[in-house]
Amino acid sequence: MHVPTTRRARLYVLAAAAAALAAAGLSASDLPDRWWKPGEGRVMQESTDYPNAAGSLRVLLVDGPMETRGHPFFEPLGTNGRACVTCHQPSDAMSLSLDSIRRQWDLRGHHDPLFAAFDGSNCPDLPQERRESHSLLLDHGLIRIARPWPPRDHDGSPIETDFEIEVVRDPTGCNLSDRWGLNAPEPMVSVYRRPRPVANFKYILAMGFAVDPKRSQPLPIDPETGQMTSGNLMADRRVLTLEAQARDAALTHLEFKGRLSEEDIARITDFEQRVYAAQQTSRIGGDLDAGGATGGPATLRDSPAGRLGSQGVPVWSEFNAWADAGKDASLTPGQRAWRESVARGAQNFRERMFLISDTTGINSPMGFGNPVLDRCAFCHNMSQMGMDVAPGQVDLGTTTRPFADPQPHLPLFRITCTGEPHPHYGRVIETHDPGFALTTGRCADVGKITLQSLRGLAARAPYFSNGSAKTLREVIEYYDRRYNIGYSEQEIQDLVHLMEAL
């Protein structure tokens, strides 16, 4: 269900919608009209709220409303019936939640373009009518990403790599496929990743500093324009601009034959840069921009982007005022407790120290030391967004052994470094997704995944690039295990509440 809003009518509409759904014995997620079908020609409003389990998400469209009929973001441009919006749903913070994926399967099965054989199934070779052929999408929210091997430069030239890759385990069959795998005429490595949100790009494209300290050089240069870029696009930074991303996505995800026109690219990127998405209300705590707090997407829309929280507006200080929520007699006890919890979570995010070790992009190659004592906001350092102001390619270990949780459903690759060994893993590495190394060809980049926006999280489970955390609590628990933090139950709850409020 989508709910066009004005400030005055918002609460009434939400309450009325919830009551109507409850009376019908439905939850909001049961209604098909949350789903934007390709080419259906709706009008996208300037402000739309989408209920979710934690409250509601708000999507803002600057200079909206906008007629989407004929708009290349919303039209099925390619041969498989998908549009960009298929995997970047407004109700899911412009990403794609597991709930939405399953709902579409229940409604239309493999006939829905979302489940296109090319990347909406585990491998195009598989019988497409079977559920198990789409299990990575249906069970983990993962889209197949096929990367050329060896990696290619922007002009298509192969990059000289300092590692070799072989397949250890291939549950999808795609990496050993004669047509799609490493031994195919055009060798490919298939990895499986979550779609990233197409929103809040002012921040994702922002350049806070001219330098990428993780690579000890200036920010990456777009080969087409010669201009510096943020280096924060895509999990593996395989493209540097929205224009290049649109072309790449059209060729692959939409199976568009040919080349997008400059006009279509301009319309797509213009739209993408006008969309802001963030949680707006909490089911328990009420409006996230009430009681002195400044949560919600309007703050994102109106704030300068790319600023370092430690030198300006502290990360998640939007919720500082709620530290005193206990004194607000107008709130229910539940609201007070929840708001105080969010404020504690924000403080914890900024101040709770733990030892970070054996993590490329943090402990190497910069000189921070291994280990280094710091906090969540060390890397999640951008005001209002919690991304990394510097290009955020970091190896948390979510995709690479021994830190990754067991993931029997994913392929496993053995990487053998032929030059310098990896600074933390050594010469031989086992990984489900080499990440940034599939772009650079460098062993030291194995497992690095670009940090992403922390906004709209409640609308787009599961989490991490490989969907390995089904809930926000599982995200916190992964960090707790990975870095032996020792969070208390109260700390976990506070951090979960904070993330639900983003």
């Binding site: 050089q217 510096m228 000189g367 921070f368 291994n370 004592l373 933390h424």
Partner: protein, 273 residues
């Protein structure tokens, strides 16, 4: 210390005609004090991490010298150790710095992480407070901050870029600062020529029983890394000349901080108006 000591220091400063800073943030990077009388120590050892907590980046790094048997605090090095690897320590004993980590404070100090494996060693805080993090003065500023333009007439300037042993990585919050300053200066004055010379130390040296020697190609890779930085910042490639040298003399350019041995591993960027 007497309660009047700060006042005496203030009076002494005023008597010397020293201006007091308007705020705590230094306007220009200042090199750490390097007492002339303190010898430059150089040794290889396995590092020890002390798990102190005075906020972010406040853990202590200790290194025991095989030469004199003493424990040194190397926390102030721009490059911190990796607890899995041996380190080359090069530094001078700091005069008058309190022991907050459980070691004799070295400052200035440089740490190079070596390939040799070490067992992880971590000590509890044991009452030591650690070193509270302060943003180093040599940090690259955000793009959105206004920047002063150099005054005319433009002068030829030479910048030193300093490297850890065996590496061509431009050291964070030390060498990146000077590389960036060089690139901005070259752009600001529309430099007619930029000469970049790289050095490596290719004659073997024995330190704490370890033979240290750098690859002859490292000088080139260091110079190329700096040249690439300038090109990516927009300095025209045709105005950049890259040269290579080996086993050069020491340098006292800004950023060497009076440490002679590390200064041999450098790149010099000569910016000519």
């Amino acid at each position: 210390m007497s309660a009047f000591a700060p006042l005496r220091a203030l009076a002494a400063a005023l008597a010397l005609g020293l201006a007091l800073p308007a705020c705590a943030t230094p306007a220009a990077p200042a090199a750490p004090a390097a007492p002339e009388t303190s010898p430059e120590l150089r040794f290889v050892t396995c590092p020890v991490y002390r798990n102190t907590d005075a906020g972010r980046k406040s853990g202590c790094w200790l290194a025991d010298s095989p030469e004199d048997g003493l424990r040194y605090d190397v926390t102030r090095s721009p490059t911190k150790p990796d607890w899995n690897r041996a380190v080359l320590v090069e530094g001078r004993v700091s005069a008058g710095q309190a022991d907050t980590c459980g070691g004799i404070v070295l400052e200035p100090v440089r740490v190079s992480v070596l390939a040799q494996a070490c067992p992880r060693a971590m000590l509890p805080a044991q009452g030591y407070p650690g070193v509270r993090f302060q943003l180093p003065a040599r940090n690259i500023r955000p793009i959105h901050e206004p920047r002063e333009q150099p005054a005319r007439p433009y002068a030829e300037r030479t910048f030193g870029v300093w490297f850890d042993h065996g590496r061509d990585f431009i050291v964070y919050q030390l060498s990146d600062y000077f590389t960036h300053m060089a690139s901005l200066y070259a752009l600001d004055i529309d430099a007619s020529r930029v000469e970049i010379t790289g050095w490596s130390v290719t004659t073997p040296e024995t330190v704490s029983g370890h033979v240290l020697v750098e690859d002859a190609m490292l000088a080139r890779r260091r110079a190329d890394a700096v040249a690439n930085w300038l090109r990516m910042m927009g300095v025209p490639a045709e105005r950049i000349v890259v040269k290579v040298a080996h086993d050069g003399s020491t340098s006292t350019l800004e950023g060497s901080d009076g440490l002679l041995s590390p200064s041999r591993r450098r790149v010099e960027v000569r910016v000519i108006p």
